[in-house]
Symmetry: C2
Subunit: 473 residues, 2 copies
């Protein structure tokens, strides 16, 4: 499907002048001496902790990053490609709470594992990510080990590693080497998602993680998380140029650490509800922002992460959750995003991973994946023979053309109901959210772990146990 | 905003060959002697009741229809323009049932009037249409008079007239003349929506109504209602060519009745759920169909009605209703529809007008109308001064740029909530559908009828009373 480009060349030029000026005149703060040294050595202007960039040099860094690359899975059939016309989806990442029906509670490791299992179950998701909820019942210092073990063993898809500390990033590299049977030989086998500390700053921990990933040639997805009016100006164009400047500064860091390190430019642009002071998701501004971000990222020629996904501020998996979610995800498809986090389960501005919303989102994702598959339009597709058979005022239900393809000709829903009222009522009159509750429970009951060699599992567990002991947990 | 075109020139050529062949070889049945005489007189091949068209002649008819026109309202500020880059929205039309909270019941005249009042209240709707529900408590033969009176007096927006019988169409013309103070002088003051009796047939009543509207120079919106697999082939391209052939045949009829009569080409393309046999709405096929239909209609150069609107098969105003609805309406925006029926209230595949869904839809419509307003991108929009003020790692909440525009800088929702969980819970923990119930009740309580001269109202009522007596009701 074609991209939906909405920016004129004039507008693109205004935006480009904007991010160039931010990079060169305002500059970006890096709270890390090693990073500052690297930028200084590369000839950039460094004063205190602020780096003022030569935009042309930044574009050279962009050019040295791969325009697309494979992200390996331990099951080769699950390997995905990042960049070009490919799209990769992960469930929601980071929520400290879960919602299950009417119950909202702190997330636990059991929830984390369940969400991994659901991520493995649905082919619409390419990766479980690595933080599908915060397992609050595990020690803070070592929970990254539990989470890594879960994504490595409960799924056979590519996964996201830890970025919370330099040590956690190093653990990610070690456990990934174990899973893949040895040090990497240039292959990309794990990715990390780092946020700028917007506006115009990267903090020490994020920089440390970026440096570990980049040095190992593993993918870094660099995402300024901008709530317009709070972390960026109350203006879509103003926020777009900030987002670009921040992401490019992060990209430049990966390239001074290691030329050619794989990187994804991220965007995550939403607004602050100026009445409540809360973040707002799924509104017109973020949809616009997505369309513009995609067009700008394509011009730069690196893979692009959309801060899309099915985002919403809603507190339950209701109509608002659905329309705000789709109003974020559909623009991400139109804009040609390469990587989309938060594609299943996101609720309450990201504070909650909701089981029912997970299923609602999977249904929407299935629909969109079919919707964005180009139609085949040729003589056979016109079904002229069916018209000759049916004629005027008849019906096509019994036509040969229909009978030959009735099983596969239309999208078959997972969750949506077309039942007439009487039948729907007689089956309990349950809305989509209630039906979703049945679907995820059945999916978990039917889950089977992907095969994993026992020795490998033992080795991973041994590593994790050793590190837990070192960390005192 | 630009249109989102997805069909290549090759695909367009295949589709054009397809509809031309249907018009010339299969032909369209018209169950009306007068219509057949007109086509015969215009040189088309007529055998029994089938008209086989010369496609070139049909394109001459297309060229004689206006490419855009004004549709007048009794309040000149409410006059709308049909065609070009304009979009006109009506609430859902035709449902025999209403839903109010958990109650589903037969629609009454009181519901009809309420839906007119809500249509008047929300500026997002340009017209109440003329059949926002079927008032089952009024006699079948004369209820069109009640409905006309309601749209004429409870709103001051353009309205849709009756097409149910030739007599009802004539009553529409007479009551419109009364409302506007005399016979029309070439202005378009009312529109009718007619459906083909697909496949490839127009029935007598529809033809009679089309002829009355066209003869009076009033707008006819011609809409093949196609559920793929039932009224058209189980194929999107096959259905697109049928839709075009049927709509163009109807357009040709209006032009042989009166050259230059205003007409809108309609599309309404959805699928049959082959498991339940029920119609399905909001799926990938109809979204695709909308994008293609818009592109094809633009090529023809007449105003286009999208069978968009917020369509859904859902039984309640739940997540399914929202995502299916938005997945129909967003493509209609992308495809540049000029007229969109069913933009508020549609539920249960069109059987139900739901008060809560009405409000959910108004919220989505408000979002989309803002979303499809192009961004202004210039130096001022970059808010560079705010960056100079805030610097690195600060926040923009208190920046002068933000304070100057915080009231208007972002979309302000009608229904959506960004409240944090504790606050939302303390206020009752109501989902979007429950909150919508409060909003429509408040809107009805605050409704004030638009001014209407007493003499005019008396004249309309007198006409309706006289006709009711003639019809024996």
């Amino acid at each position: 499907m074609p991209r939906y480009d909405i920016l004129s060349e004039d507008a693109m030029a205004v935006l480009e002048r904007g991010w160039r000026r931010l990079l060169s005149d305002i500059g970006v703060e890096f709270l890390h001496e090693g990073a500052l040294d690297l930028f200084r050595a590369a000839g950039q202007r460094v004063e205190d902790s602020i780096v003022r960039f030569d935009p042309e040099w930044v574009l050279e860094c962009v050019a040295s990053a791969p325009s697309e690359f494979d992200l390996l899975a331990r099951n080769p059939e699950r390997t995905v490609h990042l960049g070009g016309r490919h799209m990769v989806f992960s469930p929601t990442q980071g929520p400290p709470f879960v919602r299950e029906g009417e119950e909202r509670r702190e997330a636990t490791m059991a929830d984390f594992e369940n969400l991994c299992r659901l991520s493995q179950t649905y082919d619409q998701l390419d990766t479980p990510g690595g933080l599908c909820c915060e397992p609050g019942d595990r020690p803070l210092d070592s929970r990254h080990l539990d989470m890594l073990l879960a994504v490595q063993t409960l799924t056979d898809k590519p996964y996201m590693g830890a970025v919370i500390t330099e040590g956690a990033a190093r653990d990610t590299m070690r456990m990934t080497d174990i899973l893949f049977g040895g040090p990497n030989d240039g292959a990309v086998r794990v990715f990390g998602v780092v946020n700028a500390n917007s506006p115009m700053r990267y903090d020490t921990r994020m920089i440390e993680a970026m440096m570990v990933y980049a040095a190992a040639g593993q993918a870094v997805i660099i995402t300024p998380f901008l709530l317009m009016g709070a972390m960026s100006p109350a203006s879509v164009p103003g926020s777009l140029v900030q987002q670009t400047a921040e992401a490019l500064a992060g990209l430049a860091l990966t390239q001074v650490v290691r030329r050619g390190a794989p990187v994804v430019l991220g965007s995550f642009l939403s607004h602050t509800d100026m009445q409540s002071g809360s973040p707002g998701f799924g509104g017109p501004e973020s949809a616009m922002g997505l369309l513009c971000s995609g067009q700008m990222a394509r011009r730069l020629g690196v893979p692009w992460r959309a801060g899309g996904g099915f985002l919403t501020s809603s507190q339950t998996a209701d109509a608002q959750a659905a329309y705000e979610g789709l109003n974020t995800m559909l623009p991400a498809f139109l804009a040609g995003a390469n990587f989309i986090e938060h594609s299943a389960g996101w609720l309450e501005s990201g504070l909650v991973a909701c089981y029912e919303k997970f299923i609602v989102d999977i249904e929407m994702l299935r629909m969109l994946q079919e919707e964005f598959t180009p139609l085949q339009i040729d003589e056979a597709s016109l079904a002229y023979g069916a018209h000759q058979e049916v004629g005027h005022g008849g019906h096509f239900l019994g036509a040969a053309h229909t009978l030959e393809r009735f099983r596969t000709c239309f999208y078959r829903p997972l969750l949506s109901s077309t039942e007439n009222f009487e039948r729907w009522k007689s089956k309990g009159g349950r809305d989509a959210t209630e039906r979703a509750g049945e679907i995820w429970r059945e999916a978990l009951a039917a889950y089977e772990p992907p095969p994993l060699e026992a020795g490998l599992r033992a080795e991973l567990e041994e590593y994790a146990a050793g590190r837990r002991a070192e960390l005192g947990d």
